[in-house]
């Protein structure tokens, strides 16, 4: 490209030089002749040039005859533009940076939107993969949890699915590879699971029907994730045939999935399984299916709905259930859709504001250059040529900004990925790819048109004689310039109000979330995940002993003030459906209408460790052994719901119609559970020593620092049982992670709002400064006829504030319209929160006022005499 340009340039230069020489020769000869006839040299030169009709004019006409003119003129325009921009490098740098920032941010956000929402999942025929779900007719909501018998009926009666698979899993299973204990994410899947996703093995084989254990046996083979195979065995091939210990059982690695495949979530191990349960009230599985080619979602939905309706007539447990289909992509990204579109809208608003600012600057430049443009027009440059020149200048700026933007975007994407919640779907796939580049180029083109056309139109309407008469750098006040500039400022202010209001709402919401009373302390609490595999009756007996022993030793460590174990951590990542409960002496109620409560297994000391007050009764203690009657502690929400107006102590409840009764021995204060924004659910705590829950997470309240305690704890665990893996976390980190999404969107929208306000202030400043310049003469006359300083300030500030006020009003209307979108993202704050809107208006109003003050002060320094003399 550079070579071609060079070729053009050298040829072009030669032609220009020759033309110059040729015309100079003509003039000189003519001057000589005229002087021989007695003219003075000056007179001769004047005449020679006049006869020719102006050298510049002739040059322009000759250039018009050069046939490669089209391309050549473009090169020339670009060169003029670059030369012009280099001359006013401050302007070029400023606009390039502002627009580049706007573009970069937009492109970065788009790269996330593109990957997460727009691009199909990275599986063959991904658009045919759907999540098959239970639809609850009483709540009108779909739930991904499906019972085994329902799944089997769905599979047997439909003819719209090519395959339908179920999966179920827990995070963090204990895996021992070559004597090293660690955690892996395992997933129990039906053997046809991989065919839903069109997957092939990268080494070994995938699962088959024969791998499914029968007769209550446990699975003995496993397919592992590509990355997991590499990190544990060096390569996919090396993993095949190896034996690893999964949850205490020797298991053979028979296959490695294709690189990049880890569905669902970040699964490391796929274990063959088949649903055999008969309880239709259980909700054990998630179901995915691949529709047959050519089957529309709606007709598949209709058939499945019929199947579901039939089942609900046949089985009382299914009375309130039917089936619904959700495209898998929508299921995976449903939670973040609104957030991402809001972010995209916000960043485009920032870009628009940046464009408006640049349009303003270009307009100012065009006005300053009015005389230059008028001169060139008078000298014969065609009007279209001038407009083209101005557009080329915009395009050069746009190209500069695109380069800045794309470079910036590739950095911002990394920042964005680092800031994003770790479980944002497909986060690891986000990058600046071809689609994103195309988007960037398109966006910069559109932006360029936006800010380039305005000044070009303005210039094309210039009245030449007027512009030339006015002269100087002051240009003309006539035409559409001032009105356009005012409109741009109003738009900037309005957009900024929208962004700032949204940012304000999210900020206040986030602030409340952060200060929410969880009902327990997160300070100085260390969390250690462990897993103790249970494969035999002895294991089942030994596990409570292991934990009791471990906690005993832990409490003896100096600096540890309390320690306890819990099956399901508050703010933890496990998502379990709450289960039904039954109270002794009351009717069991209908399935689907029974009250529900969370169920958790804990050791004595749990409430003390987290600082949860016991309202009545007692904590669990050493006497609550497997041989003793089963006991439970409930929280106040459950006490209010199940035992209004009476004491729950001594009452009995259970989790299934045939489960053992639990006697309530205590009532504790409410705590929030997994999502800090949700009110505390009803909870039943049972004693882990009596078999409640499985493996425990250890909570330690300590004055020691995290690092030293964690090494102590690791040593303790290793001493007691080296096959138990440990992983550490702090309660504060868990709480922070639980707020990852609100934090992410608040940070981004807050940043966008701040940039918007800043840009708007700069915009107001530049327009007012320009208008004061325009009105110098008028102000001088006013001063001359006795206007006071205060009057002048009032004049300028008044002019600015009129624009700002209009922008604020329009912005407020826009903000209220946008607020509805935000409703779902807000916690304990109304989308119509008056204080927030007042705050946004005030911030912007003050910024605008400051931006008007400097031009106003400048206006007061106009000395009437000097200003008038200049005319």
């Amino acid at each position: 490209m550079a070579k071609i340009l060079n070729l053009f340039r050298s040829r072009r230069d030669r032609l220009e030089r020759d033309l110059d020489r040729e015309l100079r020769y003509h003039i000189d000869r003519r001057v000589d002749d005229l002087m021989k006839n007695g003219s003075s040299e000056a007179e001769a030169r004047r005449r020679a040039s006049l006869e020719l009709g102006g050298v510049a004019q002739v040059q322009e006409e000759v250039r018009d005859t050069w046939i490669w003119r089209g391309l050549d003129a473009l090169v020339l325009d670009v060169r003029y533009s670059i030369r012009g921009l280099v001359k006013s490098w401050g302007f070029a740098l400023g606009t390039g940076a502002v627009l580049g920032l706007g573009l970069g941010a937009s492109v970065a956000i788009f790269s996330v939107v593109n990957k997460v929402l727009l691009q199909p999942l990275a599986y063959p025929d991904a658009e045919r993969i759907v999540s098959v779900e239970t639809f609850w007719t009483n709540t009108g909501r779909a739930s991904a949890d499906v019972s085994g018998p329902d799944f089997r009926d769905w599979q047997a009666h439909n003819d719209v699915f090519e395959t339908m698979a179920h999966y179920e899993g827990e995070e963090d299973v204990a895996v021992v590879v070559a004597d090293r204990a660690g955690f892996a994410n395992d997933m129990y899947v039906s053997p046809n699971f991989f065919s839903v996703f069109g997957q092939a093995a990268s080494a070994g084989r995938l699962l088959t029907e024969r791998d499914v254990p029968t007769g209550g046996a446990r699975p003995t083979v496993v397919v592992v994730r590509h990355r997991w195979a590499e990190s544990h065995f060096g390569s996919a091939e090396a993993a095949i045939g190896k034996t690893i210990t999964v949850y205490g059982r020797p298991t053979h690695v028979v296959g490695v999935a294709a690189p990049g495949f880890s569905y669902p979530g970040a699964t490391d191990l796929w274990v063959p399984w088949r649903s055999t349960g008969t309880n239709r009230s259980a909700s054990d599985f998630n179901v995915v299916g691949k529709l047959k080619a050519g089957v529309a979602l709606a007709s598949a939905q209709a058939q499945m709905r019929t199947i579901g309706d039939n089942l609900s007539r046949q089985h009382p447990e299914n009375r309130l259930k039917t089936v619904s289909l959700t495209p898998l992509q929508e299921r995976l990204t449903g939670n973040v859709q609104v957030m991402l579109w809001v972010l995209m809208g916000a960043v485009i608003a920032v870009l628009l504001i940046a464009c408006a600012n640049i349009a303003n600057l270009m307009l100012a430049r065009a006005v300053v250059r009015t005389r230059e443009i008028a001169l060139r027009a008078a000298l014969g440059a065609g009007r279209s040529r001038l407009v083209r020149q101005l557009l080329t200048e915009s395009a050069v700026l746009g190209a500069l900004a695109a380069v800045v933007g794309i470079l910036l975007a590739s950095l911002l994407v990394r920042l964005l990925v680092a800031l994003s919640p770790a479980n944002l779907p497909r986060l690891d796939e986000v990058r600046v790819d071809a689609t994103v580049l195309l988007f960037a180029l398109g966006l910069s083109f559109v932006s360029t048109l936006f800010f380039g056309v305005v000044p070009a139109i303005h210039a094309s309407r210039l009245d030449l004689s007027d512009a030339l008469k006015q002269g100087g750098a002051k240009g003309t006040t006539s035409g559409s310039g001032p009105r356009l500039r005012a409109a741009l400022v109003v738009a900037e202010v309005a957009l900024s109000v929208v962004l700032l209001s949204a940012a304000g709402l999210l900020l206040r919401s986030f602030e409340r979330l952060q200060r929410v009373d969880l009902g327990f302390t997160t300070k100085r609490v260390l969390v250690a995940y462990t897993q103790y595999a249970v494969n035999s009756p002895e294991d089942r007996l030994n596990r409570p002993r292991f934990y009791a022993d471990l906690l005993e030793r832990l409490r003896a460590v100096p600096g540890v003030s309390a320690a306890a174990g819990v099956a399901f951590l508050p703010m933890g990542r496990e998502l379990r459906p709450a289960s039904d409960y039954f109270v002794e002496g009351r009717p069991d109620g209908q399935p689907g209408e029974r009250p529900k409560a969370e169920y958790n297994g804990i050791t004595p000391g749990y409430f003390e460790t987290l600082g949860i007050p016991i309202r009545a009764g007692r904590d669990f203690d050493r006497t609550d052994t497997p041989e003793r009657p089963r006991v439970a502690i409930i929280n106040e929400t459950l006490a209010r719901a199940a035992f209004p107006g009476e004491s729950p102590l001594g009452k009995q409840l259970r989790r299934g119609p045939k489960a053992p009764w639990l006697e309530i021995v205590g009532v504790v204060a409410d705590t929030r559970w997994q999502d800090p924004s949700q009110p505390p659910p009803a909870v039943i705590f049972a004693a882990s020593a009596q078999g409640a829950g499985g493996s425990l997470s250890i909570l330690v309240r300590t004055s020691l620092d995290e690092a030293s305690l964690s090494s102590t704890l690791r040593t303790l665990v290793n001493d007691v049982n080296p096959t138990v893996p440990v992983r550490f976390e702090t309660m504060e980190k868990l709480f922070a992670d639980a707020l990852a999404y609100p934090r992410f969107r608040t940070q981004l929208i807050g940043a966008f709002g701040a940039i918007a306000a800043l840009l708007a202030a700069v915009g107001i400043f530049s327009v007012l400064a320009y208008l004061v310049g325009q009105r110098t003469r008028e102000i001088a006359v006013r001063r001359a006829v006795g206007a006071q300083t205060a009057d002048v300030i009032r004049l300028v500030v008044g002019q600015g504030l009129r624009l700002v006020a209009l922008g604020l009003v329009l912005g407020l209307a826009g903000a209220l319209a946008v607020a509805r979108l935000l409703e779902g993202l807000l916690y304990e704050i109304s989308p119509w929160d008056v204080a927030t809107y007042l705050g946004a208006l005030t911030v912007l109003g003050v910024a605008a006022l400051l931006a008007t003050v400097i031009p106003a002060i400048r206006a007061t320094t106009i000395a009437p005499l000097i200003a008038l003399q200049q005319e």
């Binding site: 020489r21 040729e22 020769y25 003509h26 006409e61 005859t65 050069w66």
Partner: protein, 111 residues
């Protein structure tokens, strides 16, 4: 600029240039002087349109140009007719003759 002179008809300038150059190579100023002589007699040639015309003809490869020493000793750009230029001149002369002849015929008819 006497009223007795009329502006040179469109397209005629090219023909005149070709004619002038068919006699001998010349630079722009010499051509301009020749044109001036013609224009003093009858037609008005705008000098400003000479150079665009020269460049246009050169683009069409009817003229070629080279830098040569002129009568004053300075380098000037001399134009001369190419073979295609000679052909073109012949073509234009013929069509001009036919045009004027037919116009003459029409005028004579009224007599």
């Amino acid at each position: 600029m006497g009223s007795s002179r009329f502006p040179i008809p469109q397209g005629t300038l090219d023909m005149l240039i070709l004619q002038i150059l068919s006699l001998e190579p010349a630079h722009g100023y010499a051509i301009a002087r020749r044109l001036q002589q013609i224009s003093r007699e009858v037609v008005q040639v705008n000098q400003g349109s000479l150079y665009p015309a020269l460049h246009r003809l050169e683009q069409r490869r009817w003229l070629k140009a080279e830098w040569r020493q002129s009568e004053t000793g300075r380098e000037a750009k001399f134009y001369s007719l190419t073979r295609a230029g000679h052909t073109q001149l012949a073509v234009e002369k013929t069509s001009w003759d036919r045009l004027t002849a037919s116009v003459r015929l029409i005028f004579d008819e009224g007599k």
